[in-house]
Structures are given as structure tokens and as C-alpha cells.
Symmetry: C2
């Protein structure tokens, strides 16, 4: 498959491609300035040359320069240098040159995608990127709905908002057009499938009762006494799910956290047991959230088995909304698609990947990605593995009719003459939103297609780098400093490109001592204050707490020789976290350089203790 030269996509850690960037930027800025002049070219100048010679004008220009130089200095001194292969902190790396340039140009146009009148061009770009992302996830672009958001948190809210409102529709139907749900008891009404509720809502609309139904749903009446059921998430969930339960008025007590296994994927036996108990006690389930790429470990939940459980329980009378939080891992699905956008079979995929990724994906990862299309809605962030600057999240829903559940308008119609809604802000959570973000995503998707030849290979490089890092840790687990030996072990084999690991001095069985060691290593690498540019390596950190993860981290501690009593006593293990989002570490020579530097830097850190 043809593919893009990854080297040509980024400015580069040393600004290697700056001449290309600057030339293109100059062209685009000139083009923009010409555009302004071309609007009624016979209109007179508003700012005249003699205005520009006035002392007041000059003084203001001087002040502007001064303020901008101050900003430039401040950013230099305080910014996180995620462009470098030395930065392995959070889920950030260099962003695509094309996306940055597209954003910068569109920023000057400053269109507002909240309403078509404020963005006749960029609203279209936004909905086009929504369709592209929906297709990447295996949704039917003609039936689904997708748009950009300020970020994954907002997309998660929107998913749960839709699910919440949908859950309340059957009871609203019973109160307004009971003939549509005749013969269904309370429990059956709680457990209609998403598709059948949307069908019923369409019938209600044809009967002219749509507004009445909505007014009797949670949208009009507020959360009913007793709530709208439980929401199930893995313990590894992003904290926005906890915020969502509060924001949406559902109450955090109705969030059930399913434990994770030793590999930090949702424990599906535990999910089954929980669902059985809820079915038994006739407690409605509003939604189940599966995570594709956990924030801390990059772990991928078994979406295929969760979707199977959904089908099984649905048949047994317990139905729920299935949302995939793929804010982080979503773009990885491009690696599974051929140039026509079809999900490749595993042999074909292994053939495509063989030169870059010999031992990925596992069957689990393959099946999990394949099953994403069996969900009702998805969160995916272009500003994470889309290599696009902030702000760019996205929300996708399998069935576009869901927008009617939240739309501001009395009777929802996508205006017939147009493919674009006249007032996007009335169908989504947000209001004003930058057209520039849509332009950046659109440009990125044009240049780097959402299949193996484009994003697949790019993200594949980052996964390749992470795997090399993981293997190198396994192969050289011993560090020596000041005559002491230290063992480093990875937490798990990474599902994607996040490697979590920790150091311990050989023979140490005290968890507090181990935690302090890793904390000091981290501080050596990442200084929370002062110039970051003096750091050798930038890592991130996290604490795996018993109250969040129960006893999952115990297996990891045992490999270090830390006994169970220590875990019971301390209840928390401090770990280091390297997100290998940069595509550059996959190259042999570059990896060797940085791996060498990493070892030196860690050794230096250990020596200073």
C-alpha cells in the first residue's frame, strides 16, 4: 500500500522541515491578505498611509511587538517540549505541519461553526470529518452522525446525554401515546433497544406527537424520581465519566466501576456478574462504557466480548446503550483498514504490517477494534492520535436520529436543500466553535488518509517505538548506580503505545522506599516548575491506588519482591509512564540513540539519590 513519508509530515525535533513550513505559511498569509483586498476592491482604504505615520499608530505597533516578544519568551521558558523524542510524558507529540498550517490560515478567517451563516465553508468541513471518522469506526456514514467537539470530555458528556434522554422516551411514550407501547410493562419499557426506541419516536413524530413526547421525557421533566438506571464503566475510566454523572444530574452513586484485570482491561467476568445482578433485581442499566486506550495504561477493553454480552443480555430483557470511549485509541482503527476503508482480515493485515510491526496486533486487539462498530456512540480525539493541535475532539453516533433527543428545534429536520444544518449549535452540546479546528482536521485527513497507508502507518510507527521501548526494558532490566543495583519492570505488555514501569532497588521489600525512588526519578526527569528545557527526559507518572484499582497492582509488586502486606499497608504504587506518541523512535538508529540516552539519564538520576 502506498504511504506517506512520516518524515515529511512534521516540523521535526530540530525544526528540520522549517524551510518547507515557512515557505508554505508565507504563501498562505499572502493569499489571505489578498482575499481581503479582493472584497469590493474599489472600497477606499480605511487605514491610510498617513494614519500609519502618526506617532500614536507607531507607538501602538511598538507595544504590540513588545507584548508578543514577551509572550514568545514566556512560552520558550515554560512550555513542554513534546516535539522531542526525549519527551515521553503525556499523550502528545509533534503535530502535523499541514494541520498547524491549516489551523493558522483558518484562524484568520475566524469562522464560527455554531451556525451556517457564520461558517458556510467550515461547517461543511466539520461534518465531512465527522463522516470520515464515523466510517473509520465502521459506522455507515449515511446513517450515522459525527461532529467535532472541544475535546473528549465534551464528547463523553454528549454520549451519556443522548443515552439518558433516549432511556426516558419509552415512559414518555406511555404517558403521551400509550398505544405505541401497548402491552409493555415497566421493566420492558426500561429495556427497549436504542434502535427500537428511535423507531417508536419516528412513529410518534408521524402521528404529530413528537413535541409532546419530548416534553414528557427527561428533557422536559428533568430526572425522574429513582433515576434512569446505572452507568457501568471500568475502573480505568477517564475522570470525565465521574464528572458526567454529576453534570447530567444522574448522581455519582449510580456509576458502577467494574474492576480491571492484571492487564488493566475491564474484567468481563465481573461485568457479567454485575449485569446478572442488575437483571435479577430489575435495575435498569442506562449505559455501559468500554475504553479503547485507557488514559493511564493505554489498555484496550474487550469490546467484542462486551458487545456479545450486550446482545445476550438484550435478549434476556436487559438493554443498554454501549458507548466506546476511544478518545485516545480511536485513530488506531485506521491501521486495520485497507485503502478502500475495509477492515482487513488478520492475514492481510499481518502482511501489510510485517516490516514495521511483527508482533502486533494480538487477537484481542484485532477483535476489539473490529467490534467498535457494534457500539451506539464513540468518543475519539483528533487532538490525541490524530496529531492535530488542540482543540479537536469528536463525537460519533451510529444512528443520526439521536440528535432529535437533544435538539433545540421544535421539529428536527436537516434542512432539505442543504447537507449542512443551519444551526449546528442546536444539535450539539456546545455553542460557538472554531471553524479553524475543522479546517485543521480536514487538511490532516486529506493528506494522511484514515487507513493503513495514512494514519495507520503513522500510528503504527509510534506503536513500534513503544514496543521497542518495552522490549528493551525487558532485555536490560538492571541499572547500576553507586554500587547498587536497580531493577526496572514494565507493568504489562502495552496494548497501544503507553509503557508503564517502575524501578526498585534489588532486595528492597519496602513499598514506601520503592515509591520514593520512582518519585525522585520522575522529578529528575520532569520538573513541575522552572524551565523544562534543561530536562534530560520527560516522563509522566501516576499512582495506582487501591481505592481505584483494588488489588490489581499486587501482581506487579510481587514481581519486584514486594509482599502483599506492604500493598495492604501502603495501598498505592507510584509508577512511571512513557507515552511513545512520537513516530520517530520506531527507526532503528534513532531508537538506539534515545535508548542509550534514556539509560544514561536514568542512571544519572539513580546516582543523585
Amino acid at each position: 500500500m502506498e504511504h506517506k513519508a512520516v518524515n515529511a509530515l512534521f516540523l521535526g525535533p530540530k525544526s528540520e522541515n522549517y524551510p518547507v513550513f515557512k515557505q508554505m505559511l508565507g504563501y498562505m498569509m499572502d493569499d489571505y491578505a489578498e482575499w481581503r483586498r479582493g472584497f469590493h476592491p474599489d472600497d477606499p482604504l480605511v487605514i491610510t498611509p498617513s494614519d500609519q505615520e502618526e506617532e500614536g499608530f507607531q507607538a501602538t505597533v511598538r507595544e504590540m511587538r513588545q507584548v508578543l516578544v514577551e509572550l514568545a519568551g514566556l512560552l520558550q521558558m515554560t512550555s513542554v517540549p513534546w516535539f522531542s523524542p526525549r519527551y515521553l510524558g503525556h499523550m502528545t507529540a509533534d503535530t502535523l505541519m499541514a494541520a498547524n498550517l491549516g489551523y493558522m490560515l483558518a484562524l484568520l478567517y475566524n469562522q464560527n461553526n455554531v451556525a451556517y451563516e457564520g461558517s458556510p465553508g467550515t461547517t461543511g468541513l466539520e461534518l465531512e470529518t465527522g463522516r470520515q471518522l464515523a466510517a473509520m469506526m465502521g459506522y455507515d456514514p449515511a446513517q450515522s452522525w459525527g461532529h467535532l467537539t472541544a475535546g473528549g470530555t465534551i464528547a463523553n458528556y454528549e454520549g451519556l446525554w443522548l443515552a439518558r434522554n433516549l432511556k426516558s422516551i419509552p415512559h414518555a411514550l406511555r404517558r403521551t401515546v400509550p398505544e405505541l407501547v401497548a402491552g409493555l410493562d415497566d421493566w420492558a419499557l426500561w429495556n427497549l433497544s436504542p434502535a427500537s426506541i428511535l423507531d417508536l419516536l419516528e412513529q410518534a413524530k408521524q402521528m404529530g406527537c413528537f413535541e409532546q413526547v419530548r416534553a414528557h421525557s427527561v428533557r422536559g421533566q428533568g430526572i425522574p424520581a429513582g433515576g434512569l438506571g446505572k452507568v457501568l464503566v471500568p475502573q480505568s475510566k477517564h475522570y470525565s465519566w465521574v464528572k458526567a454523572m454529576d453534570l447530567l444530574g444522574l448522581g455519582q452513586e449510580r456509576l458502577i466501576q467494574i474492576p480491571v484485570q492484571d492487564d488493566y482491561r475491564m474484567d468481563l467476568e465481573s461485568l457479567r456478574v454485575t449485569l446478572e445482578a442488575l437483571l435479577e433485581s430489575h435495575t435498569p442499566v442506562l449505559a455501559v462504557v468500554a475504553v479503547v486506550g485507557t488514559t493511564e495504561e493505554g489498555a484496550v477493553d474487550g469490546v467484542y466480548r462486551i458487545a456479545d454480552l450486550r446482545d445476550e443480555f438484550s435478549k434476556r430483557g436487559l438493554s443498554f446503550w454501549l458507548h466506546i470511549d476511544a478518545a485516545y485509541g480511536g485513530y488506531v482503527r485506521s491501521a486495520f483498514l485497507d485503502a478502500q476503508g475495509s477492515f482487513m482480515d488478520l492475514p492481510q493485515m499481518r502482511e501489510e504490517l510485517q516490516e514495521s510491526l511483527s508482533d502486533w496486533p494480538s487477537d484481542h486487539i484485532y477483535q476489539a477494534y473490529q467490534a467498535i462498530s457494534r457500539s451506539d456512540s464513540i468518543t475519539v480525539d483528533p487532538h490525541k492520535l490524530g496529531y492535530i493541535p488542540y482543540p479537536a475532539g469528536a463525537f460519533l453516533a451510529r444512528d443520526r436520529r439521536v440528535v432529535e433527543l437533544i435538539s433545540y428545534f421544535a421539529a428536527y429536520v436537516f434542512e432539505e436543500a442543504e447537507d449542512n444544518p443551519q444551526l449546528l449549535g442546536s444539535y450539539i452540546l456546545e455553542g460557538s466553535k472554531p471553524g479553524a479546528a475543522a479546517a485543521a482536521v480536514w487538511v490532516a485527513h486529506r493528506l494522511v488518509p484514515l487507513h493503513w497507508g495514512g494514519y495507520g502507518r503513522l500510528i503504527g510507527s509510534s506503536i513500534g517505538g513503544a514496543r521497542q521501548f518495552y522490549r528493551s526494558l525487558l532485555e536490560q532490566p538492571l541499572f547500576s548506580a553507586n554500587g547498587r543495583n536497580y531493577l526496572v519492570l514494565p507493568l504489562t505488555e502495552p496494548d497501544l503505545n503507553i509503557v508503564v514501569y517502575a524501578f526498585n532497588e534489588q532486595g528492597n521489600a519496602d513499598l514506601e522506599v520503592m515509591n520514593a525512588l520512582n518519585q525522585r526519578i520522575c522529578e529528575h526527569g520532569f520538573r513541575p516548575t522552572g524551565p523544562l528545557l534543561s530536562s534530560d527526559f520527560i516522563l509522566s507518572k501516576t499512582s495506582l491506588e487501591q481505592k481505584e484499582y483494588r488489588d490489581t497492582p499486587l501482581a506487579f509488586l510481587r514481581r519486584f519482591g514486594i509482599p502483599e502486606e506492604e500493598w495492604r499497608r501502603v495501598g498505592s504504587v507510584f509508577v512511571l509512564r512513557s507515552c511513545v506518541v512520537t513516530p520517530f523512535l520506531a527507526r532503528g538508529a534513532t531508537f538506539e540513540t534515545y535508548w542509550g540516552t534514556f539509560r544514561q539519564s536514568m542512571t544519572k538520576a539513580l546516582e543523585t539519590l
Copy 2:
């Protein structure tokens, strides 16, 4: 008072200041490229000159150019030219050169303000701009809380979210630490003032019961049966308030819309009657929202009288949260401040304003702006009258302790060593957010201070232009075309810088005919599809509907000779809307040019009918 040269702040309708812009951009880009090289300068090149010579590399660069040129063309053909004085459509005009440049530079740094680790510099800039905006509104910067949002819609949600959670605290206290609310009956618990609830919460915290209280509030339990009271907004509210009632689980039926007067300001007699009735029936009031700058008319509600009513009803046992939706009009408060940030007395203000604005502000406007500081929270959008590119909204709260009501963390502490929270995303609605937006706002506030000498005078120019437009309509209300005479009348005297008006053929008493006329004029000015650059003038439009505005538009129609029966029959009047956000129309010569062009263009439109 010293002031900035407005001419030097913008690129200009003809790109007049492009040389200044381009030079500064070049400097900043070079500076940024150097920054990358300066991080471990001894690290080897990752992209080598021989990589760059490869055909694959060159091909990808060529494709990038092609895609970007395509974007540039698309934006040229489809974008709304709000930079021109011919654009009087929505609340947009040219944005500050400094803000655009600041954004473009900071975009490359791509810091994420969700967490301090991802933005050690720009998180500080965001909170600094929050304090500046709080001070502009008359809040005590040391006690208040402010941060940027993706837009005003999100800020409105956040205000109502906080108010909602606060309202539920007293009952949560009764369930967990009843001694703190001993002797208070149910009605008294619903009506504790915001400040006293926050004081009680602090006591609960000192007693170690904070988490228990929050878990028993709406945050933990969800919306209680019966809800949390009514929310009162004027009928002129932005539609995000209707969305907010749905999103937050309160239910749209609990939103009470207070009618507006002939001047499109909230009818305060009606507000009083409503509050009396709610007090009488012991129905709690969750919040009252006052609008400072309505979306359609730019009308400013009588905040001073609303704040008085709040005080009065609070004494009588009915307490509520007061939110000011100043998304549009908020920055206008800078015009009332002297260089020290003090709210000027009216004679001092008139003296400062006399050369630019002889008949503004009225006593009503003056008192309304003064009273903004008596609110609990405020929405204000830098991307509206801050002349800053999208996305930049802001949320402000008078008492920073409110963040504890929604914060993710178990026990909220602003980390002691730092002025910045380590995880901003845990105290606000959003998650990931661009540090670049904060940089843009910060640069703008540095260059154009938030007082009369900065933003005041800049926005004053736009108000001056609007008033001149309004007076010109009053002075030359007759247009002739094809031997017919048309009358144009403004809806009201503008409070800020939005002028709403309509045409009617002299002698016509048919409202449908009048509506069709204005619709055609609008279409002539604004084409929803096709290149906008051929438009003579770009206006926006709105329909004043009976179901939204009750009979308020009737007075306007009577001035046109349209009888009441017609209003009863048609129920809607189509009006034109000119937002004079551009500061350039205030200049005598420029105004005359564009007023002449406007009359010609309208006459041309009338001739084509």
C-alpha cells in the same frame, strides 16, 4: 486618558497593516523554530538532508502543498468577510492582530491547559486572564474564580451547574451534619443565601464531613424528586439556557421565561409578580439569569433593579443564585473603568467619553453595568467584544469556594506552593483545552487594557458607529425605488451596538407582505450559499415570534401602520439586524462612505423586487 490607536490594532479591511503583521509573524516563527533546536542542541538530526531528498519525502511535501492550496481556495470562496465595514451581520468583526499572532505562536507550542504538567506556562496565563476579567466585572480578584471556556454556552452551563449543586447542599447537610442546620425548616433550607451555604460547607469540611455532604447532594444522588426549583430567564435569553435545563437534568418545564418590554429588556414588574407567586406557593427558585446584551437586540436588562429585587426577596425568605449572561455585552464594562480599574462616576465618564460618544450611556445602562458586580456568576466571551479569535469564552464566579461543588478531587485544595491548580480540568466542565486560546486573550489584555483607555475606547467606537447608523436611519427613513416609497424604522434605540430595523412599503398594512419584503432585502444582502464576496452588504436577520416575545413587537408594527389584527393573524415579524462590531464606522469619513453605499445597496435591492 492615554489610549491605543485603534487603526494599529487590526489587519484592516484592505489588509492595510499586512506588512506589520507579516514581519511580526516571521519573527515569531523563527523564534519558535530556534526554540526546538535549542532543546539539547547536541541531539542528532532525526530527519536528515538525505531523507529530505528522497522522492517519497518530496512527494508528501508536494501533496501537503496541494491540500493546503485547496483549503486556501475553499476558504476564499466560502468564508464570511466580517473584516469589512460592509459586514454588519453577526457579532463578529476583525480580530486583534496581536491576539491572532499570539494564538498562532502558541498553537505551535500546543500546550494543554487541562493539567499543569501539560501547560506550565499557559495555565498561568489562563488564570491571569480570569482574574483580569473578574476585576473588570467588579469582583474581588482575590476572592473570585475565573477561567476560559470554549464559549459562552459552556460558561452558562457551568454557572447553572454550580447553582444547582449549591442549592442541594443545605438538604445534604441536614442528612449528614444536621446540627449545622438545626432549627431550619424545609423552606428555610431551600432559601439559604449562596454565601451562607458556602460558609456552612466550610464548617462541614472542618468537621471532616465534606465528602459525606457532597455525596448526599445532587452531585452524588442525582436530581431529587421534585427538582431543585425554577430557573427564571428573560424571553430574550440565548437558546443555550433551554439546552442547559435539559443537559443538567433539571427539565425544561422548570424554566420560566419572563416577558420583555418594548425595549426588549426584561420586564421587571413581571419578574416581581413571578417571584411573589413563587414565594407565596413556596416554590424554590434555583437561579435568575439577567442578560447584558441580548443576542438579537443587544438589550441590557436592568441588573441594578434585579439585584435590588434579589436583596428584597432574600430578606423575605426567597433566595436564589444570580447569574449574568454577559457573553455579548460583558467587555463593555471596560468603558466604565478608569486606568486604575475603578468604576467611574457618571460626570467623569461623560467627560472621558464626550469626544466620541455624546449620548451614551443612559442612566439605565450605567446603573446596569455598575450592578454586575452584585451577581454570583457571569458569562463573558472574549471571542465576541474582546475581538479575539474563537474559541474564547469565560466563566467567572464571585466566590471561588464554589469550585468545591463540582471538583473531581475528594478534598479540594488549590495546591499551596502554586498559584495554579495542578489539574484545572478537575474544577471545570471541560477537559483538554488549548493553551493557545489563553495566550491570545492574555496578549490582547496586555496590549488593550480592560479600561476606558483600552477596550473601552475600542468598543466605544463600535457603539459610536452603531448610534450613527441608528440616527441615520431615523433621519433618512424614506427609500424610493421604481416609483414606490419605503419606510425604514429601527426597532428600538440600541443599548449597545446592535441595530434592528425593518422596511415597509408606505401604505402597506399587510404583515405578510412586509415580511416578504424584508426577507428579500436580506437575501439580496446575504446569500446563504455561493461566494459571499459578491455581496454588497451582509446583514443578519431574525424573526420576532409571538410565541417567544408575546405581544412586544406590536408597538413596532403600529409605527409602520400594521394593525393589531395582522399581528394576531401572522404572529411573526421578520426584521433585519446590523451588528456594528467594527470600530471603523465611528470615523466620520468612513461612516459617510459606507452609509452612502448602504443606501445605494438597499435601493438596489428594493429595485429588484
